[in-house]
Symmetry: C2
Subunit: 547 residues, 2 copies
């Protein structure tokens, strides 16, 4: 026994790399009969299990292998949330390739650009997007073949190169295949950010970060799932890694309900009701549709317990509506660059007994970071700012599943402490609760202080005549920048600038009050629904504030 | 842009090593005011917070650094569950040393043996164990100094080398210290197994395995903790990594309640009641004391929700008693070698609606493995056996926090698939629920079939006259081995061998029935309370079954 010269204590635990295929293996073995229910793109409800999904994912991997797909090659998906999309994920990652989820809602030119930028060799697409791809195909010289996620009965006539129906394709595989063993730091998936300016930027997840993110997502600080839950991810699998749910749910053996292409209030409601969904996740716009439908039809969702909400801030009225329904609203903040979980609005012990109004105030924050996420706020020079709930600064993040560098870029995007600048502006309180106050490029810098464009917009839209509001900063001789409020009125409504400002008076700090109000026919949006402030800045670049 | 010859997709996520100190950093930052309440060794209830614990753990690290403790050096603790022990853990691991938790219940010679085997440079001890260490000190030439976990007011007069009171010791540090950054695969902690034969064997955990185990422990398949829970680990921190709870609770910000040295029913009850404990964990013997005390005094624990139980099987009557109290009993199986979480008896969806009797049957199993644990059962030749709930085989385990090799040993302990042989015999059913049927070395091999000594013992102790029962296999000319039942009667009780066997008739398979019954004054036990079957085998080595 005794000691040797080299450390006798190293390497005495098993080497068990964190690989994505282990998640579907575990689900198939321990939760094999657990259901995955889909409203299929073709129409009918489809039911399968984790055990079947694993068998078919292995066939996907086998077919990709026989096609010559190598470790690190990119395979794209343009697809809704369905069981077939899930099979493609695990099949692509399981053969060591990179699953590139393309957002079909991007402008066609952007789609072509990112497929070429990623050098996707195969594109797996729902029938929905076949016409779109046919129009783009000439611009996609590197795509070797197209797999259409349907069966031969529903296979459209198409000009797409070597197009094959998914069911026919995997029927060629006997399933006698083993997952390719890769390093846990190998790339597993890829997603482009849809910025409001410039070309989209590719984020590359690894097997390790996806598995760690799934573990993090299953803790009580995040989804707190168990095998008895039923999860409906409204958030698409092409949005920021589906917020991790395509990993989180099978990891714990929860039932999955996949909405396919139908995300309107009635369709989502019907599926949630009939499948007794207990947890769901999506953006505020989807919940607005769901709540409006439920309200109009006097409906309830007796099984629903938790609604995770991200993408943009959940309005207070929506938080209150869910609480009235007996559902816990859980805001989440994250980005494509953060896999995406950054914070979740979980109530910690000192707050769970707060009076309702204060509790709701807290739920309007984006929440605190779970273990594995580190946050800081800084000024423009990178100096840390206090966590007092008042001081706002640039939000920066470091963690177990956060980007270090964009795909194909040599630009350093981390600071000297290894933090990524999110581009958001936020406050953090003494308990770690973070609240986004603006995008850094939209914040208005007035006399050395920061004015939140978002808070001004939220205030303005509180007026019953206002359909949408946008605030931009414009140069000001004395204060550097001052806010201009741009308003789109509801159809048929009338409002003067004076009335608008009178309404806001007292609701925001005096020195935040916009210096002018302009009315427009329509506020421009990006493909993913964000206000295009760059376009507004251009439109108003010659605007001059009244003296 | 475009591709380069090397993979353009590697290393694009941040490097965020899984280090133990990150857990206490997170707890101090995000759950800084969360309480850790201890029944101190000196007597009074002591209250502190995660923020304070981190500050003091940093001072421990600083003092170890100034003592010359290097990365990989071993520092021992002989201590109860207290806030100071927690500070020592994070301080020792945070300086890159290995926290060697010594079980003070071992025989003194074993304690001396493992301290020497580990080459512990410093021993941190509760006042309780100072007399014990004074007797052993001459046999511990490598221990450079002793830190006694108390303040100067309670510091005993001691002959221990360079003994210092902990509070005086850390008062010398100014706290201006940063955790040592080590590789996530570096050793962090060490625990010896207390086998029933041979010398104890050292298991070395790493930072990575401890952090991954804490993540696993926080999922819904394990403890499912949240920051609103209050956790009382009755399981000592010197038992199998405290079942992970010293990491699991601060990871999620749960309040901790530490029982110190008093584990009797009244003391544990009082602490659980006054601190509103919601989750606790320990061995059946502790729960027996607690339940007896509660029953005798007609008490309830209105806040308690979940009791995790491991170490040995939870009797059915105990499961029923907890269910009557409105508490979920959660059996767990694991070993020092598995960090220790292996399985937890969580009810999966098909079973949560079972009739009560069947549900309790399922809860008597040891449960299914969470993600990160892989199990198999094999015959003696290593061939996999079916998961049918009936076939029993050697239980083998592979996973993210499982041992590969013992400290200081060159012996290969994994099979060709990388699985560790647990030494247990078990069945696994089609849903993954595992049930321990015996220790491999205790199973009786009769005519090619296996008889479970544990099941026979459980049956025998059901007789009201029986205090304890042990079954061993002895050579048999026709069947290779046959069971001998050894019985210790309750004080004053009488029972004949015939009456004993009549009682068992019909309760176990006919061919399992013991071939003989012997009565003894007392059944021998190891230091940790296990039946010493090796001693019984020796005692009965010349025993001959009646023809």
């Amino acid at each position: 026994m005794g000691l040797t010269a080299t450390k006798p204590t190293d390497g005495l635990m098993q080497d068990w790399p964190l690989l994505c295929h282990r998640i579907i293996d575990h689900a198939a073995l321990i939760h094999g009969s657990q259901e995955v229910v889909t409203r299929s793109v073709e129409g009918p409800i489809h039911r399968t299990t984790y055990a079947e999904i694993r068998v078919r994912a292995l066939k996907v991997a086998q077919m990709l292998d026989s096609h010559g797909i190598a470790v690190g090659d990119r395979v794209a998906t343009l697809a809704w949330n369905t069981w077939r999309h899930l099979e493609c994920w695990y099949g692509i990652m399981g053969v060591g390739a990179i699953c590139h989820t393309v957002n079909p809602r991007l402008f066609p030119d952007q789609i072509a650009w990112i497929i070429n930028d990623a050098a996707d060799r195969i594109v797996m697409t729902d029938i929905t997007f076949v016409p779109l791809l046919e129009k783009l195909a000439d611009k996609l010289p590197n795509v070797e073949s197209y797999v259409v996620l349907t069966d031969s009965a529903h296979m459209p006539d198409t000009t797409l190169r070597k197009a094959v129906a998914y069911e026919d394709w995997i029927a060629q595989a006997d399933g006698d295949f083993r997952w390719r063993q890769v390093d846990e730091n190998a790339a597993s998936a890829m997603c482009y950010t849809s910025g409001t300016t410039g070309n989209p930027k590719g984020v590359i997840y690894t097997h390790r970060t996806n598995v760690l993110h799934a573990m993090m997502g299953n803790t009580g600080d995040a989804m707190a799932l168990t095998a008895t839950e039923t999860v409906l991810p409204v958030v698409p699998m092409f949005h920021a890694n589906s917020w991790g749910l395509a990993f989180v749910a099978p990891f714990i053996g929860a039932k999955m309900v996949m909405p396919g292409p139908k995300l309107d209030g009635a369709s989502v409601y019907d599926l949630m009701y009939s499948e007794a969904v207990t947890l769901t996740a999506g953006v505020p716009a989807v919940w607005q549709m769901l709540l409006a439908y439920m309200d109009a039809n006097k409906l309830t969702l007796p099984h629903l317990k938790l609604v995770a909400c991200g993408g943009s801030a959940m309005p207070r009225s929506m938080i209150e509506a869910f609480l009235r329904l007996g559902v816990t609203p859980r805001q989440a903040w994250g980005m494509t660059e953060t896999s995406p979980m950054g914070t979740m609005s979980v109530l910690k012990p000192p707050f769970s007994n707060l009076a309702e109004d204060e509790r709701i105030n807290l739920l309007t924050a984006q929440g605190y970071p779970p273990f594995g996420v580190e946050l800081k706020i800084t000024d423009d020079d990178g100096r840390r700012l206090p966590w007092d709930g008042k001081t706002s600064g640039r939000l920066k993040i470091r963690g177990l599943a956060v980007v270090r560098r964009y795909y194909g870029s040599d630009t350093e995007i981390l600071d000297e402490e290894g933090y990524f600048d999110t581009g958001d502006v936020a406050t953090i309180d003494q308990h770690g609760y973070m609240r986004i106050t603006d995008r850094a490029k939209d914040v208005i810098k007035s006399g050395g202080e920061w004015i939140s464009s978002i808070e001004l917009e939220n205030c303005a839209v509180g007026h019953p005549a206002v359909a949408e509001a946008a605030v931009i900063g414009l140069p000001h001789p004395k204060w550097d920048e001052r806010p201009l409020l741009i308003v789109q009125l509801k159809s048929g409504a009338t409002l003067s600038a004076r009335e608008m400002l009178d309404f806001m008076e007292g609701k925001v700090a005096r020195w935040w009050m916009p210096n002018a109000v302009e009315f427009v026919q329509s506020i421009p949006h990006t493909a993913t629904g964000k206000i295009m402030k760059a376009a507004l800045r251009q439109q108003f670049e010659n605007f001059e504030f009244p003296a």
